[in-house]
Symmetry: C2
Subunit: 472 residues, 2 copies
């Protein structure tokens, strides 16, 4: 611990009390490594404020002592954006003690949650008043509202409701100069200059510490239907989505699954079974919901899938006949990454291209990657309707044990080049963090990098907010 | 014309041709004054580029010669944000020649329009492919996509579809350093750092020149119904909105009209007649639409209004029985400002507070203003469901001819103080421009002002982009 850090720790322990300043290495240990266990950091202390005022105090002291802060929520990020640097030069700023839901109003369709509220906790609380916060993802039991906001999280309902950027009505944050930005009044219309709220969403803690968020709610789901369809190729899958969207407003999930991924799930994940009896090259998981009680959404989707079958858009389809079967369909989708890991080494890419171009991109990119790196298997699955797939490249069965380390970077550069050439994004929903910073620097337009650096320098001239993340 | 300006004009005339550089005072005249005729500016020339590359050239030359630019679309802004300074130190940058619709895709639900495309032109083009751009406002025949984006425009459909901030899928802009920011690929998910798109929306041309915009489309309206209801007070009006929203997803317009405003319209605007036979203290104009063919939306709204009548939420209601009657209802709403001007001097305030607080705010603020400034008549009308009303203060019949000049500033300060105390915004949809800059500087939190100034300075260090606007 340098003298600067030691005196800061001492100062904060005196002013905030022992609960807010954790230095025991055993307590720190789970939080200094990213959740996939790939990036190992170190921190002399973890600060755990219980209020916005305590965050102000921490930020002011950190600025004074020139000790950087690494804000962290549930530590479930995919790009190591909340993992401190390995040299121990920064302090962790855990937001988990700020976990109050300050308000929920069904009438206003708004909830105000502190940064440390866990997504599942919010979902439950909102459900109790007949409303719904329409964002969910695998880590829902650990990830926090602050982290979701700072990473502009997506998930499987973006198709209908958008990412956090659409769902956040306002942000409360402590800016690097120690001032509080209060956007929580949840004004629906406010044209007083640049949107600081929108700037903080997806900023990965590099422009300030998000302390609370006003979130838009929608009416609770009255009925839902989950269906599975087999199609010839991703083009047909997109055609099906367009076909459905022209006829109903109820589609909220539309996930593409290649046959290859389905087979891996059936092989490695116990209790799974194929939804359809025949063999199809590609599959689509469809979720439709309605907030309107009494509407027969199941009949409607069945009728539409029947029409799609007649028009040969799909080869077959089945509607889940029970909640258990619906969950079984989703389990297949949610188990793909796990099944791939069980099969062998896998390299994941979270990418997006314009929606209309995605079917061709999946086919072309897979072919090109497999040609350039003989032996690998490439495929894409996920949020087709958002133009966002998880493009995974798997080591062949004869790959060396160090394939990931030896080949990974070259394959990723190859994939990122294809994505960039297609006008896409090398980070659709996982952010830049530490892991994608070099590729971002390599591929971003100079004007964009210049603008990002200028904004970062303008708002955080001392560089105390999550240095080494996002901005190359 | 200073030497710097003269040589810049000469340089640009040589490189861009005479059509792109207008110096004839008669041609300039309509564009150097704001459309309400309140703010008179001057400019040595109006530049009219025809392409993004020409804008790049203009911005680079302007930076080199240190001559500021004032971007302008249809010149229909309410805060004089596109009016050049009176000393003639800046050049007008008219975007009206960049008026191509580059693409419309019903499948992708996207249109790409250049900054100078007029809203009504876009609406028509989109309608032809069975889609709809769900934003409209009074100036639709003149206002441009670039101006709407730069001012984060709202209108009467924000309730369901949001402001431009929700409807813009991406922005192409020339930044002050002459680089092109290209956000037009319309990626639905892209987490590569701070959103430059969102920063440019509502920036009033102070951070760059918007040259083209990707816009989200929704399916065309298959059926609509317009209704008029009488209520006791704004609280009942909001109760009606909540009642309807719990039972249908089709409400997209919900406008509050006080009896006093209705009477002024009936008095001054020929051909108008009261929608209801009885007298009500307050009125609500309701518009419901559906993209689904065959749904009987008129019956549904009639049934719901019947229920609301039974529950004594409303005192009476009528459904427009024809398109002509629907337009007649809207004409009343749209003629309020005109009728007020015909009656006498009026001071307008475009303000917002949290939706739930708006009913009480309207009543309390009106009472307080009338008490503080004896003789005036204060009332609020407009977008109740967005928490945004136009709070107008009218001179009494005995007011002096210079009432507006003599009393206006004091009344506005009084209203703005009430709004700020209620956690609201002194500019809900009209922006800051020149007209609200002093009040913005007086009332904004220091942290917010600091952040805005820092961002402006970071991205436009030479101060060539619309100086004297928005940022105090």
């Amino acid at each position: 611990m340098t003298i600067g850090v030691a005196s800061l720790v001492e100062e904060l322990r005196n002013s905030l009390g022992p609960k807010a300043v954790i230095t025991d290495p055993r307590e720190l240990e789970p939080w200094v490594t990213d959740w996939r266990g790939r990036v190992h950091g170190a921190a002399p202390a973890m600060l755990a404020p219980a209020s916005t005022e305590e965050v102000v105090q921490i930020v002011r002291s950190a600025a004074e002592h020139r000790v950087p802060l690494v804000p962290q929520g549930g530590n479930t990020g995919m790009s190591a954006g909340a993992t401190p640097p390995a040299d121990g030069s920064a302090m962790l700023l855990s937001m988990r003690r700020m976990n109050r839901i300050r308000a929920i109003s069904a009438g206003d369709r708004l909830a105000v949650a502190e940064a440390g509220v866990v997504l599942a906790t919010l979902n439950d609380a909102v459900h109790e008043v007949g409303m719904r916060f329409p964002l969910t993802l695998g880590a829902r039991g650990s990830c926090t509202i602050g982290g979701l906001t700072s990473t502009n999280a997506g998930g499987t309902q973006v198709l209908k409701f958008g990412t956090m950027r659409s769902l956040v009505a306002g942000v409360e944050a402590v800016l690097p100069d120690g001032s509080i930005h209060n956007g929580l009044s949840g004004l629906k219309k406010d044209n007083r200059g640049y949107s600081i709220d929108q700037l903080l969403i997806g900023a990965e803690g590099t422009l300030g510490v998000v302390t609370a968020v006003a979130l838009r709610l929608v009416p609770a789901v009255a009925a839902r239907v989950v269906a599975w369809a087999g199609v010839d190729d991703p083009r047909r899958a997109l055609e099906l989505l367009r076909f459905l969207e022209e006829r109903t407003q109820s589609i909220e999930g539309f996930e593409l699954v290649p046959q290859d991924s389905l087979q891996l799930v059936l092989k490695h994940v116990s209790g799974t079974r194929p939804p359809l009896s025949g063999v199809h090259k590609w599959h689509v998981l469809i979720e439709a919901t309605t907030p309107e009680a009494g509407s027969n959404i199941s009949n409607e989707i069945e009728r539409l899938l029947g029409l799609a079958l007649n028009q040969e858009i799909i080869g077959d389809a089945v509607i889940a006949s029970s909640e258990a079967q619906a969950e079984a369909f989703w389990k297949i989708r949610d188990s793909i990454s796990e099944a791939e890991r069980a099969e062998g080494q896998t390299l994941a890419h979270d990418i997006s291209v314009p929606v209309a171009d995605m079917p061709r991109f999946i086919m072309d990119a897979s072919e090109q990657v497999e040609r350039a790196f003989p032996g690998v298997i490439a495929s894409g699955f996920g949020h087709l309707g958002d133009g966002n797939i998880h493009f995974h490249v798997r080591a062949g069965s004869h790959a060396a044990p160090d394939w990931y380390e030896a080949e990974g970077a070259a394959i990723t550069r190859f994939v990122d080049d294809l994505v960039t050439a297609a006008g896409g994004s090398i980070s659709a929903e996982h952010g830049i963090g530490q892991l994608k910073r070099a590729e971002f620097a390599r591929l971003a337009e100079p004007g964009r990098l210049h603008a990002l650096r200028a904004i970062k320098q303008a708002l955080d001239p001392l560089g105390i907010m999550n240095p080494g993340k996002l901005v190359p």
